[in-house]
């Protein structure tokens, strides 16, 4: 239903220990974020693209498509930073003055924007590496190990499961509405949607009571305890992570 989620369960790296994948993705992301140069993000982008496409076996087409998802936010925000409006036309590198108001870009702003653009893409590729290779259920156990409050991980388990249940319900309701000519006009769209929302909300109440009953039948006493299958820990992977991160960190430090 959600393509990122599907790949997380079917990629070639799914059996790798989730802690190893999380460490790799998060360290790289921080390295990318703290880099003073545009070279690091470019290397990170290449590294993650390689990991996602070659190692995890996710089609390159899918990866490229996913990289385009945040592009709308990115372009608009980066342009906002690059361009400014001012009544003082001095200091602009490229500008157009209309009516005493200058719209244009200053050189340092442009550099910030380009750097920001690449840095964000690099970080997003790290996020994708983690999301595309690691099943959510295992990520939640990583959070458990990090001593995130139990109530948060418990809620995450429930929310993750029921996202799909409610999404399916929402899809069928929407189809039923479409087949009865819902969403044909502005007014009918609002009517259709408000009913879809309230019908879903009704389900939330009914289903949660049913779930409580069925969990009580399995001796639920207030804490949701589960066992997760253990993945093998690989020393080799830790060595690879260290081998990849150290040069990147050195590059960051030496550039200063």
């Amino acid at each position: 239903m959600i393509s990122i989620d599907c790949y997380a369960y079917s990629n070639n790296l799914k059996t790798v220990h989730p802690v190893e994948k999380s460490l790799f993705a998060m360290i790289t992301m921080v390295v990318c974020l703290t880099s003073p140069t545009v070279i690091t993000p470019l290397i990170v982008l290449a590294l993650m693209a390689g990991g996602i496409v070659c190692k995890a076996g996710i089609p390159a087409r899918v990866f490229v498509k996913l990289m385009l998802v945040p592009l709308s936010f990115l372009l608009l925000s980066v342009l906002t930073i690059a361009f400014s409006i001012s009544t003082n036309p001095s200091g602009f590198w490229l500008a157009q003055t209309i009516n005493g108001v200058t719209v244009g870009t200053r050189y340092p702003d442009l550099i910030t924007a380009v750097h920001l653009f690449l840095r964000s893409l690099g970080a997003v590729s790290c996020l994708y590496f983690l999301a595309l290779t690691t099943p959510m259920t295992e990520l939640i156990t990583v959070l458990n190990k990090m001593r995130v409050p139990v109530i948060i991980t418990e809620l995450m388990v429930l929310i993750y499961r029921f996202i799909f249940v409610f999404m399916e319900t929402a899809t069928t309701i929407r189809r039923a509405q479409f087949s009865r000519s819902g969403y044909v006009s502005f007014k009918s769209s609002y009517r259709s949607l408000s009913r879809l929302f309230s019908a879903l909300l009704g389900k939330v109440f009914v289903k949660s009571q049913e779930l409580y009953n069925s969990m009580a039948a399995r001796c639920y006493t207030g804490e949701i305890k589960v066992l997760t299958k253990k993945r093998p820990v690989s020393l080799r992977n830790y060595l690879i992570i260290t081998g990849l991160e150290i040069p990147l960190i050195l590059l960051n430090l030496l550039w200063r």
Binding site: T172, R175, Q177, F178, S179, S181, R191
Partner: protein, 272 residues
């Protein structure tokens, strides 16, 4: 009676996630027909139905309504959906409004009819489905059988020519299933074309005058129910069971207690 109303031509469809749902499906539906589509879960019955009123768009091939390829422009889609109504399997996802009256009026209101016209249609649909005394009830307090009836009323109120029922008797107890089949009979007499999907072979056998068997996205057989079900290899291939009448008959033929024509005329079968 012999006029084609709905037709699927070389229909191919796969879901966005790549699942192949329909493979070269060809199917003709005559006006006024009672067509049962048999198949196990996941055979593609529901997916095919969503094609019939344009909710899904085929990857290749086409749907014809009264001989014309259907168009996917929103105006023409409205016209099509007015003619071809679907009653979905789970009444809970079909009843999305708070009260029975509101829910039944949803379709007609979307068609842009005047309030009087809508009220009239709703009244008529409630009468036909015997839900008049439920009018003001909140939908979540209805029993399963009542919900099912209201969901049918919601489709009837749009005045469709063809009504498609997805697994209509699933979850209904025998008495409600019987009542439902009577309602279907009434609609059929009024001249509606009716298509239903089921994996209940007995029901399909006793009710339909045409039958199609689906298996893994393909229609593997289409014809008169009696003839179709005598070919037990098809039935087994589609993961179904034989209707008990035919099973009994086959046993009797084996033991030379009966002659080898197919048993009883259609519409005389067992339960339902």
């Amino acid at each position: 009676m012999a006029e084609l109303i709905l037709e699927a031509v070389d229909l191919e469809y796969s879901y966005p996630d790549g699942t192949n749902a329909l493979r070269k499906v060809n199917l003709q539906v005559q006006q006024g027909e009672k067509l049962a589509i048999l198949g196990s879960n996941g055979a593609g019955k529901s997916t095919l139905f969503m094609q019939f009123n344009g909710i899904f768009r085929p990857n290749s091939g086409s749907i014809k309504y009264q001989g014309q390829d259907i168009s996917y422009k929103s105006k023409e889609l409205i016209e099509l959906r007015k003619k071809v109504g679907i009653v979905f399997q789970d009444p809970d996802s079909q009843l999305f409004s708070a009260s029975v009256y509101q829910d039944i009026s949803f379709g007609p209101l979307n068609l842009g009819l005047s309030e009087e016209k809508v009220a009239e249609r709703v009244k008529r649909a409630m009468k036909d489905t015997e839900t008049t005394d439920l009018e003001d009830k909140p939908t979540h307090l209805l029993s399963y059988g009542q919900k099912k009836r209201v969901s049918i009323a919601g489709v009837l109120a749009m005045g469709p020519e063809v009504i498609i029922f997805d697994e209509p008797t699933a979850g209904l107890d025998p008495r409600h299933a019987r009542e439902f089949m009577q309602l279907l009979e009434k609609l059929s007499i009024e001249g509606k074309t009716i298509i239903l999907s089921t994996h209940d072979v007995d029901l399909a056998y006793s009710w339909s005058d045409q039958m199609a068997i689906m298996y893994r996205g393909e229609i593997i057989a289409h014809g008169k129910p009696g003839e179709l079900l005598m070919r037990s290899e098809i039935v087994e291939r589609a993961d179904l069971t034989l209707p008990w009448l035919i099973e009994m008959h086959t046993e009797l033929v084996k033991k030379r207690l009966a002659v080898s024509v197919y048993p009883f005329a259609e519409n005389e079968g067992g339960f339902a």
